[in-house]
């Protein structure tokens, strides 16, 4: 068995973790501002400016907030859908719903993001619906980014929550009702506690995907910057790979903390 597992583990170790290792090494180098050449001299300057320049703290905080809001919105939307799919819908309806949830994943990410750009545009459907009420589209910005990301990552929340609720035995619902609990109380004291690890499992996806996103922000974010944009601008535009690598360690550290916390809820068994 060890023999069979060696190639994939090597892939994981060399190509995947190795790339991360190389990233961390790069973050300790510096760059010549003028020519853009990487200067391979060990330095902590990148991390120093990351910690001392206010704008990076602001951007990190904003990114964490967007990730948190997207996760909460997705959890709130996903829970009733998953509950209906798992416990109420007929077998046939359940299968159709699973396909319906998966369907958006077949379409390109870019198509979906640009669809939302059209939605929020000054001559788009949101403006068209809002204008009779004297309102206008919120335009491109943080709100549009949050909505777009919540839409994009919703399936990643529904599927684990659906699986989690499906594992709750029907007999527990009956027992709860026999003991006099109303449906709201059953939901609150039986279903949610049992499905909680599944929600945390789903949140790992929504949170980490949002943390690293920069494309949706570029398309619908207006002037908004998130961590991904700082990485992209430094690597793609300023060619400052060392600093980009230093910025990229922020989501890694945050996600390690998040995973450690998630592990305590038993969510990792639900992935």
């Amino acid at each position: 068995m060890g023999l069979l597992l060696t190639p994939p583990m090597l892939w994981l170790g060399v190509a995947y973790l190795g790339a991360l290792g190389a990233l961390l090494v790069t973050s300790l180098w510096s760059q010549n501002d003028f020519t853009g050449e990487i200067e391979r001299i060990w330095t902590l300057d990148n991390f120093r400016s990351l910690l001392t320049v206010d704008v990076y703290r602001t951007i990190t905080f904003r990114t964490l907030m967007v990730a948190a809001v997207v996760t909460v919105v997705d959890a709130v939307l996903a829970f009733p859908i998953a509950l209906y799919m798992a416990k109420v819908a007929s077998r046939r309806a359940q299968r159709l719903l699973v396909i319906a949830v998966l369907m958006p994943l077949w379409a390109s990410y870019l198509v979906k993001a640009y669809a939302w750009r059209g939605m929020f545009s000054a001559d788009g459907p949101i403006a068209w619906i809002a204008q009779p009420f004297g309102l206008d589209t919120p335009g491109y910005g943080l709100f549009a980014t949050t909505v777009t990301l919540a839409y994009l990552w919703l399936p990643y929340m529904i599927l684990p929550v659906f699986a989690g609720i499906e594992r709750v035995p029907d007999s527990l619902f009956e027992a709860s009702a026999d003991l006099g609990a109303g449906s709201w109380q059953t939901l609150r004291r039986v279903v949610i506690p049992m499905a909680f690890p599944a929600i945390v499992a789903g949140s790992i996806f929504t949170f980490s995907l949002t943390m690293g996103d920069y494309i949706a922000v570029k398309i619908v974010g207006g002037t908004t910057q998130m961590l991904g944009n700082v990485v992209y601008d430094n690597q793609g535009a300023a060619n400052n790979l060392p600093f980009a690598a230093a910025v990229a360690t922020i989501p890694i550290v945050v996600m390690l903390g998040y995973l450690a916390a998630a592990r305590r809820t038993g969510a990792l068994e639900n992935l």
Binding site: L17, N32, F34, I38, E39, Y140, G222
Partner: protein, 409 residues
């Protein structure tokens, strides 16, 4: 069993990571000796790395990879009648693979990959490319059209070092102010419309997404706040940069989005998400062609602008086709076509006889060196003040990059 197996595998994984990290560290000491580092200390005498120059154009390789500003290498795919790449391919036998870039930073970064043979570099990219050894000196004797290039574009500090040309001039022009004619009335005449007056179009202003845009704010301050003592928008000391940053931070409150992808700006003006902001003539032309009600003007303060140079990569895989392209794109016919499409002054004076609009070169002051001097061409800011001040230290491009991130917040 499961546990021990996993431990062993984890050890293998860790060992391989270490091995890889060690290789990365191992290669770190050799290689580049950082020649470019000296460049910003001796801008005047500018020590360019020793890169060999071609002494003849040999057999065409069959293809050429071109990195260009949008609109510089049109093959008819944007507009059927706009095509000067196909005649080049037929004439030279070189298949042209064109990639457009949106900012000078992107061009510098893409040139470092070594995948492109030639690039149309603006003045804020040229010296960085020369200093890093990514481009080679150009043997102008191999270019039949070089003699027709107007003199005031030759041997400039942004395209040559010690009298050695590093490219062939392409053309030059000014950044313009574009506005939606339905929404913005009366027509703006000043950059103030996107700075002090930006609140009139709150949430509908757009700006160029690059640190070099700071120069636009500096130019506006140069004209409106003489107390700051700005002489050159690319030579800003710390206080002057701070003033420009404040102006841009105030502008940001009214900005809908920053653009670097020219198609994104076209789309934003078409949908009405942006109604006023900086642009290039080619963007205004494309937007008008797609039915957007926009006009582009040169405001009274003058403008920042570009003077572009075709350069050849030091790692070019198709140097012969690269030279053929550089010669072709500076020929009168191609120059006339590009200049008219992009909306800029051609570098080749003979192009003026071939433009469809006979007054084109007069409109763009193509051969008027006095006018050309009034445009503040994109230049890489360096710590030596480009305006000649010796009593102050100026902010360099790295400072501008950080400032730009702070402006966007």
């Amino acid at each position: 069993m499961r546990k021990t197996g996993m431990t062993r595998l984890a050890a293998v994984a860790c060992a391989s990571v270490l091995a890889l990290a060690a290789t990365a560290c191992g290669t770190s000491s050799g290689g580049d000796d950082g020649d470019g580092g000296k460049a910003d200390e001796q801008q005047g005498g500018f020590a360019a790395p020793d890169v060999p120059m071609a002494d003849a154009v040999g057999e065409p390789e069959g293809q050429v990879n071109i990195l260009a500003w949008p609109g510089y290498a049109e093959d008819g795919s944007t507009d059927k009648t706009i095509d000067w790449v196909t005649p080049f391919e037929k004439e030279s036998g070189c298949q042209a693979n064109v990639k457009y870039f949106g900012t000078s930073d992107e061009a510098v970064q893409l040139m470092k990959t070594g995948e492109y043979d030639v690039v149309s570099a603006s003045g804020d990219a040229t010296l960085r490319l020369i200093a890093s050894g990514d481009v080679a000196p150009v043997n102008t004797e191999l270019l039949t059209n070089y003699g027709d290039i107007v003199d005031f574009l030759k041997d400039q500090k942004f395209n040559s070092v010690d009298g050695q040309m590093y490219g062939v001039p392409h053309g030059w022009g000014a950044n313009l102010l574009m506005y939606n004619t339905d929404v913005v009335t009366p027509a703006p005449t000043s950059w103030g419309a996107v700075f002090d007056g930006a609140a009139d179009y709150a949430g509908k202003v757009t700006a160029y997404d690059s640190p070099i845009y700071i120069a636009d704010a500096a130019l506006y301050l140069m004209k409106t706040q003489p107390d700051l003592g700005i002489e050159d928008p690319y030579a800003l000391d710390a206080d002057q940069l701070a003033a420009a940053v404040d102006l841009l931070k105030a502008q940001k409150e009214n900005v809908s989005e920053y653009w670097s992808d020219y198609l994104k700006e076209v789309q934003a003006f078409k949908s009405g998400d942006s109604v006023i902001g900086t642009t290039w003539q080619v963007i205004a032309s494309v937007a008008q062609g797609e039915g957007a009600k926009v006009e582009a003007v040169l405001p009274e303060e003058g403008s920042t602008g570009w003077s572009d140079t075709w350069m050849i990569s030091s790692q070019a895989e198709n140097p012969n086709c690269g030279y053929l392209w550089m010669d072709y794109i500076t020929s009168p016919k191609a120059q006339a076509a590009v200049a008219e499409y992009f909306g800029e002054a051609p570098a080749n004076a003979k192009a003026c006889d071939l433009t469809s609009d006979k007054s084109f070169c007069d409109t763009y002051h193509a051969t008027d060196s006095a006018y050309a001097e009034q445009i503040h061409y994109w230049t890489t800011p360096i710590s030596q003040c480009l305006d000649g001040r010796t009593d102050a230290e100026c902010t360099d491009y790295g400072d501008w990059t950080t400032a730009w991130t702070e402006i966007k917040g």
